[in-house]
Structures are given as C-alpha cells and as structure tokens.
Symmetry: C2
Subunit: 311 residues, 2 copies
C-alpha cells in the first residue's frame, strides 16, 4: 500500500513539474505566427500522463543521475509524442474528433495548421535537445546521442513506420480502397507494429534518461530491455482498454480499433490472454532492472502502473 | 564565360555526388515498411537542384573546410527540404498534383502515407546529423550545433511558420472559409513569409557548412549575411518564375500563386522591380563574402545562378 501511495505522489509531482516546464519551453502563443503557436500549445497542454518524460527521469535516477538536471531535455519526448498524436488523429489517418475529452487539433485549427503544428513540435524536439542555452553543463556527446535515439525512434523504423503498418495492415474499409497494404494478420505482425508505433519511443525515453545520466554500457543495455518490455505492455494495455475501458474516464470513444478492423492483441488472443502477456512483460521489465536495487524503485512502480491503469 | 562554364560543371558534379549519397543514405526500399520507404525514395530521388546541400559544401569550402568530408551530413538539408515539399503539396495545403513533372507523393501513395513519408524524412534529417557511424571524426559539439541550426530553421519560427503565414495570409478562397488568418498585405509581410519559408533553410545550409568546416565567429556572421541575402533572392526569383517561367521547363504549372491570390513580390511591386530587388540581394551576398577572396568563388557563382536560373 505504501508503495502505491508513494507512486501516485511521485507520478503527480513529476507530471506537475513537466507541465510547468512544457509551458515555459513553448514559444509565447502571441509570437507570430500566433495561430501556429496556439495550435502547438493547444495539444501540448491538453493534459496527458507525461509517461515518456517521466520514464526518462526515472531511468536517469536508476543510474544515479540527477533527474531535475535533465528534465528540460526530457521534454523533447513529449514534443514528439504530441506531434504524433496530432498527425494520427488527422482525417487522412485515424480521423478522430476527440482526444483527451477535447476536440482534436484539426477540428479546432483546420487540417493544414494541424499538420504544421505537428511538424513544428517535431522540429522543436530536436531544437530543444541541441539548444545551447538549455542545460549547457551537459556534454555535447551525450546530447548528440540523445538526438540519435530520439530521431531513430521517431523515424521510419520506429513511430512513423509503425503508424504506416497500422494504417495499411488494417483491411480495406471499402471495396474501392485498393491502396497497397503491408503483410498479413498474425500476433508477430501485431507485435511488430506495437514495437514500432509505441515501443520505440518508450524505449528511447528510458535510453535517453540513461544516456543523459551517464549510464555505463551494461546499465544502458539493462534499461533498454526494461524499455522494450514496458513499451509492449503499454500498447497491449492500450488495446485492452479500447475493448473494456470506460469512455468517460478515457475522454475518447472506445471500441474504435475493432470498428476499424485494426489488428490488436485482444482481437487475436482475447482480453484475458492479452492481460496475461502484459503481466509477463512487466515481470521481464522488473527482472531487467533488478541490478539497480532501490534506485529502480520508480521504474518498478511505473511498470506496474502501466498494466494497472484505467486510462 | 569561363566562370559560367566552371559553375555549371561545379553544380553538376556536386549534384551527382549528392544524388549518389542520398540513394545510399536512404533505408533500402525493400525494408519493411516497404511502402513507406518507397514513398520516401520517390520524392527524395525525383530530381531537384540540391541547392541547399550544395550551399553547405560551398560554405565549408569558403572557410577552408573539406566539403567531401561533410557531404554525408549535408544531406540532412535535402531530407528537410523534401519533407517540406511533400507536406506543402498535400490537399489540405497547396493541393498540388505535380512536382518536378511527376505526380506528387500523395497522388501516388495516398495522403496518409505522404504525410508519414514527410514525417520520416524529417526525423531522418536529425538521425543523420547524429548518427555515430556517419563522419565519426567530426566533433560532437559542431554536430550538435548543426542540429540546432537545422531544427530552428525547420520549426515554428522558420519553415513551418512561413508555411502557416503563407497559407493563412492568402485571402479566403470562398465566403465560407472563415478560418482565422494572420496579418494584412504589405511588402514587409511578404518578406517576413519569405524569410521564414525559404530563407531560414537556405541560411541554415550556409551556416551548417560553416560550422562543420570550423568557421570562426566572424566567418559565421559573414556567411549568415550571405545566406539571408541569397535566401531572399531565391524566393523572389521563385515568385517571378511563377509569373513568367516556362511550365514545361519547370515541370509544374505556373501562375498558381496568382490564381490562389497568394501575396508575392511580383503582385505587390511588379516583375521588373522584383528582379531589381533580387539583383540587389545578390550584390549584398557578394559583399558579405568579399573577405573570403577566391575561396568564396563557388558561393559567388551560386548567388548569380540563383537569379539567372530558369527553373
């Protein structure tokens, strides 16, 4: 019980600090082009669990780094995550009207500005990691390595690749839809999509925290294993919540994956087996960080939180 | 005459080397997701003058750096440029069907994959600059500074900001179009749009060449002035070619800016005065690089080429 209470406070404190830093890091919404800056702020400050920067900070802690010191750079993970949500919601992709209980970016600002707000947040993530006035005491080699982790996770073999596979592995929604498609249906393909679409950025979060905390190569490898396991668990739980979650708590419609004929863990192996796989991932994550002893307490709590969450 | 012939050969040699390197730098189009990798390749290898990486190499030469050594990193400029063209052509933006004489990316691959191919090229630009196996002999501090230049030029105060201003400064095309808009019509506003939409990336190209060639702060400042002047000249000439260029030579429709009621130099001050302003920019660019003597011969030739070009 104590651990659970501590974790809730830990997550809350981190989230508040990150929200505050995100607001500071954004261009002033009155700076021209004001419309673009307002659209960026609209999605970035629309709430969210901030789980990716929190993972980076927890990973930094695990290797005895100072999480407060790297927080300004960990924001880049949230810039990338938010840009990807804005683009995923577009009419040409998932065509979603609501996100976190609010109208999606393109419903408020138009499709053109939404695409560009995503693009600007994408660029801002890298500007942030390389900004000479942000965390000037952190060495260039580590920051450059963080750029590489983030750009690779965001690119065609990560986030963007996963989204293409997700969109085009979905069976055509109409007989007229003869656009080319990727692969067939199997648990391996679904896992491959998840590893890219969600796993890559979560792994990058953990790795960036490790790199900026001056991890040894052994520590970096262990934390990468943790990141892989937690990333997969995270997406499986997302799939399950789309089946049995509460739409009011989640601020968005559920059952959408199924309606779109997307291939998810629950579709292929059912909800109970999906939950069992997610639990096994968490166990793998806990095993991976056992060498860090008490310094990995936050990482352990986050791994458990990811499977227990309701939103 | 001799100079002109030399410049043509210079530009051609550089372009061939860059095209070759771009092909090598792309993920194999058979690597999954193959569809995405093919869409990236389609636009990246569709031709183009490669003027941005060429400017980076010429700028590196001007500060006595080795252009061949930095070429693998200068490709990032072309990744960003190509991503921005793919997104600009989208139905939600300029809605163009042809680019360089070929169907635009979204006409071939669909709007979803086109958006994602742009996103993947965007990420690849930063992955490239930070890739530990590309140019490992170049120091991290310079590479990180190059990341900062590129990300800033690509972001909300550069390329993306200019595109928002361009789209939303255009008068509404129908009475039903009541989306919010930026500013009014004046030469200052048009120059502000140009400085962001085109100028920022051209200036970044020149600066990145300087940084990777180990420029002194004085050299960096002089080359920045050159970049600003050449960037503005480039966009004014683009505007003029949209009025009096040959659509067959250009591989795309002309007169589109006017049809869309976009605000351009020719619209506001006419073609002759626009050409005079472009010529004055070139003179500013030549003045800025006079301290580099013969090492800036390529930069001088490129500045003149930019106003003399027909496409």
């Amino acid at each position: 019980m104590t651990l659970k209470l501590d974790l809730a406070t830990y997550l809350d404190d981190r989230r508040v600090a990150i929200d505050h830093a995100l607001r500071e890091a954004l261009p002033n919404p009155e700076t021209p082009p004001a419309l673009l800056h307002q659209a960026m702020e609209y999605s970035l400050l629309a709430g969210g669990k901030r789980i990716r920067p929190i993972l980076a900070l927890a990973s930094c802690e695990a290797v005895d780094g100072d999480p407060d010191r790297i927080l300004p750079l960990a924001l880049s993970l949230e810039f990338i995550h938010t840009y990807s949500l804005i683009h995923d919601d577009l009419p040409a992709m998932d065509d979603d009207d609501f996100r976190r209980g609010q109208p999606t970016n393109h419903r408020v600002y138009g499709e053109d500005v939404a695409i560009l707000a995503g693009d600007a947040l994408h660029a801002l993530a890298f500007a942030r990691l390389a900004d000479p006035v942000v965390c000037p005491e952190l060495d260039s080699a580590s920051r450059l390595a963080a750029v590489y982790e983030l750009a690779t996770a965001a690119g065609s073999l990560g986030l963007v690749g996963g989204q293409v596979m997700d969109l085009r592995t979905t069976p055509p929604s109409s007989i007229d839809d003869d656009r080319p498609r990727e692969g067939g249906r199997s648990i391996e393909i679904v896992e491959g999509i998840h590893a890219r679409k969600t796993g890559a950025l979560i792994r990058a979060a953990v790795r960036i925290g490790a790199i900026l905390g001056d991890a040894t190569p052994t520590q970096y490898d262990a934390l990468s294993r943790y990141g892989d396991a937690v990333g997969l668990a995270f997406q499986i739980v997302d799939d399950v919540l789309d089946v049995d979650g509460n739409p009011n708590e989640m601020g968005k419609a559920t059952g959408k994956d199924h309606d779109r004929l997307k291939w998810t863990y629950p579709d292929i192996v059912g909800v109970p087996r999906s939950r069992a796989i997610a639990d096994a991932c968490v166990q793998n994550a806990l095993d991976a960080v056992s060498p860090f002893a008490s310094r990995a307490e936050a990482l352990r709590g986050i791994a458990r939180y990811i499977v227990d969450r309701k939103i």
